[in-house]
């Protein structure tokens, strides 16, 4: 799907109710929050070895770097529409930092979300080429994380 229409589809999906999960007898809100928080933990899992190498805290290893970056690129490319059903913002319930801005500005959110897929895909292409290449592409990954947390995640 072209990037533009994919973003539009994600933005549209954010306005839909969580009917499919209801059909399975799960609490759809809790399931969605669990899923999106797990998504963040997964990303952190791959960021840790990458960041440790980029920051010089652990020794660079090409194979580890390439594998972690490939995983990060795969996870961050997941379509987020199932994570954010209506009524699951930090204003609606406890236990989530997802700000109402996600639903109020769906295009902006879809764009900020997609920025990490772009940055981590670029990282995956070079992460195995040496520590300088990893470092060079890692900054954009951090910027993408911050770019979404800036307006869409509640502070502490």
């Amino acid at each position: 799907m072209p990037a533009q229409s994919r973003l539009a589809a994600i933005a549209l999906a954010l306005t839909l109710p969580a009917a499919p999960l209801l059909a399975q007898g799960m609490d759809p809100a809790a399931a969605a929050i669990n899923a999106r928080q797990s998504h963040m933990v997964l990303q952190q899992t791959f960021l840790m070895p990458l960041g440790g190498m980029a920051q010089g805290q652990i020794e660079y290893d090409a194979e580890t770097a390439a594998a972690a970056a490939a995983n990060l690129a795969a996870v961050s490319s997941v379509d987020p529409r199932f994570y954010f059903p209506e009524g699951t913002s930090s204003a609606d319930m406890e236990g989530t930092k997802a700000l109402p801005a996600i639903w109020e500005n769906p295009e902006g959110f879809a764009e900020a979300w997609a920025a990490l897929a772009t940055a981590s895909t670029a990282l995956a292409e070079v992460a195995g080429d040496g520590p300088e290449a990893l470092q060079g592409a890692f900054g954009a990954v951090g910027a993408a994380c911050g770019g979404c947390h800036r307006s869409f995640r509640q502070s502490e």
């Binding site: 952190q44 960021l47 840790m48 960041g51 920051q55 930090s90 204003a91 930092k97 700000l99 900054g139 951090g142 910027a143 994380c145 911050g146 770019g147 947390h149 800036r150 995640r153 509640q154 502070s155 502490e156």
Partner: protein, 296 residues
Amino acid sequence: MRRALLVIGALALIGAGAAWALSAPERLPAAQLAGLSGDAEAGAYSFAAAGCANCHMAPDTVPGEAPALAGGQAFASPFGTFRAPNISSDPEAGIGTWTEAEIVQAMMRGVTPEGRHLYPAFPYASYAKGDLQTAFDIAAYLKTLPASATPSQPHEVGFPFNIRRALGLWKRLYLTEAPVLTGELTAEVARGRVLVETLAHCGECHTPRGPLGGTDTSRWLAGAPLPGGEGNVPNITPAALTWSEDQIAEYLASGFTPEFDTAGGAMVEVIQSTSQLTPEDRLAIAAYLKAVPGVE
């Protein structure tokens, strides 16, 4: 009876007169500024450290482009919503006609060239602790930035906070050149103090405020409610911030916490500023944060 009324009336007049006198805008003495002029190149670094653009850039500024400081961003507070003004070099909409000394008076005393008080949403209570040359350097750098003709928008502040004159009394309570952290400091912690207390004005968000909006220095950097939003600005005293100095410096460079979570909220823009500092300055900030008293 009549006499008592006269006495009360006279006292009220004296009181009002005193309040009027005490609330007058006070500038730095002209003699102190005489002969000083700014170095724009040095000012560029301090401008980045102070994060001026984070508040004064237009809301639609493209990251990475030289910001036109057109203003317009809104800052909610218990006293109303403040809007960052246009401080670009435009002579009409911005401050292009102000001299460097006039800009310094605004930065360090919160007074405009016309003699009006500025609201302390502009962190002049932090900049007041700084040195004049740095302020002149920033003023000189501001003059090199592009002009924007976008008019400043009015603050949305209700009575009684819309009485600007009363800010003179606020300044008597909260505007001081004295640093918060005192005592014997290493050169690194002293440099960190300049960055944290003055330029980067960390205390403006990380320190709780009293009912009149002044920072409560007995709880310096101990965290505060997020102004105008849900959530909190974290406690960054040693009682809560247990990261090593290297980890703090790394966070200020990349935005990543030691667990590879990232900064959020307005801290994202602060990181954009601190990432432009030298590694030594980021470590100085970290050293200072380890030197302040821990507050639970």
